[in-house]
């Protein structure tokens, strides 16, 4: 499928999910059914997608306080020293909604990233007028993330190679926790310094080849009619779902 269609639909899907009012369970079920169908059709493997979508869980924790702060009929209370925390029904509904929404949205992002080669994805972002500088930053991040990971791996290897045990008996190898923390801090610091120096060198290499802040690239092929059809019908479907959610549950 055309990467532009995929990108726009993924963004539209995530937006729809985000704007759907809390507690609109039937709409959530429809959205979930939609994304599960896409999961299966993408042939990435359900295990892969579900494992990665667990990434959304820690962010749900950040929303945990809503079960106490939203007023409404009380469900039960927790005594916590001098404080009493009361769990309310709308609060619980809100939390479950947030959890479901983030899980559904993350799946859309995973399918998009998993089924689109990164260069195509960047071309799609440029085509739909995401600011070029932002796209360039994404591209450089993606390119040099692996270089950084390699560099970190080599540092760790060098440390492992020198983490030996003495021949004298009775010595406890490993050093104190504080000392090891200091070493790890030093490693992180040197990695950071090198990242900055590398970025300087990369910038100079780019300027040397005529870079002036503008990233140019080849235009993408024209969209086929079938791509337009998929794009418009899917957007329409999402819009209907959104209207339903807002009218019935808003």
């Amino acid at each position: 499928m055309d990467p532009r269609v995929k990108f726009v639909l993924a963004i539209a899907f995530i937006l729809t999910t985000a704007i759907t009012p809390p507690g609109a369970w039937p709409v959530y079920i429809l959205l979930l059914a939609m994304i599960l169908a896409v999961d299966i059709l993408s042939e990435l493997g359900m295990g892969y997608i579900l494992r990665r979508s667990a990434l959304a869980l820690p962010f749900v924790l950040a929303a945990i306080q809503v079960i106490f702060t939203i007023s409404g009929p009380a469900l039960f209370s927790i005594e916590l020293g001098p404080w009493t925390l009361t769990v309310t029904q709308p609060g619980l509904e809100r939390l479950i909604s947030i959890g479901l929404k983030s899980w559904i949205s993350v799946q859309a992002a995973i399918v998009l990233a998993g089924s689109t080669p990164f260069p195509d994805l960047m071309a799609a972002m440029r085509a739909v007028k995401v600011p070029r500088l932002l796209v360039a930053v994404f591209g450089l991040m993606w390119r040099y993330l692996f270089v950084m990971a390699d560099e970190a791996l080599r540092l760790i290897r060098a440390r492992t190679a020198r983490s030996g045990h003495a021949d004298q008996p009775g010595l406890k190898p490993g050093g104190s926790l504080a000392w090891r923390g200091k070493v790890a801090g030093g490693m992180a610091g040197s990695l950071f310094l090198r990242a900055i120096e590398r970025s300087d060198r990369i910038y100079m290499a780019m300027v040397a080849r005529g870079y002036n802040g503008d990233v140019r690239s080849f235009a993408l092929a024209r969209m086929r009619p079938v791509d337009w059809l998929i794009l418009c019908s899917s957007l329409g479907l999402l819009f209907v779902l959104l209207i339903l959610g807002v009218l019935l549950f808003g």
Binding site: E151, R154, L155, R157, A158, R159, T160, A161, R162, S163, G164, H165, A166, D167, L171, K172, P173, G174, G175, W179, V183, G186, M187, G189, S190, L193, R194
Partner: protein, 237 residues
Amino acid sequence: MHHSIEINQLSFSYPDGHAALNSVSLSIQPCEKVALVGPNGAGKSTLMLNLNGILRGQGQVCVAGLELNEKNLGRIRAQVGLVFQSPDDQLFSPTVYEDVAFGPLYQGLSEAEVRQRVEQALAVVGMSDYARRVSHHLSMGEKKRIAIATVLSMQPELLVLDEPTAGLDPRARRSLIHLLGELEMTMLVSTHDMLMVRELFPRMVIMDEGRIVADGATAALMADEVLLSVHGLEKPI
């Protein structure tokens, strides 16, 4: 008396399936200095990383009379002074002193002994005045010497160097060769510097495509120009 290195039928494949070592066997006597040559991607670095168990292949590896296994891993790492090609990877502490002290401190040696070892190691490589310097801002030649000091402070049985003269100017290269010639210990050095091989190493091992294709006296192998050119090497003038 044990061998410093005794490798028997060692094979290693990277997780992506690329076979980097193909039943390699090699034994090196104590205090022998051996050069490891061959084109890029021949498996030289992989072999070196197998010597102290950073990578683990199939086959038998004995270092300093210890068989490489989980139990001996720590003691073997103290016996193998592995110096990586890029000193920037080797030097990860803020100051030179802390880097040289890392090995002995990790072993849990007493403070007095750590101090004594660091001073000794820096003296051997001629960098005693640099102890308080920040390793980040040193020249390539200085970094290489300090990288060697960081393993000498562990008092290893053998020194394993990955392309020690790469990226050095002639003067730094000359002084490094001088240093390696003075060190009385077992050495396995991978390099593309054939002039240094002829000057410093009586024995030479040629690797290509994960195998040892020749192992013998440097003078004899250097005379075989066909062998050298088949494996992408050049006879030094």
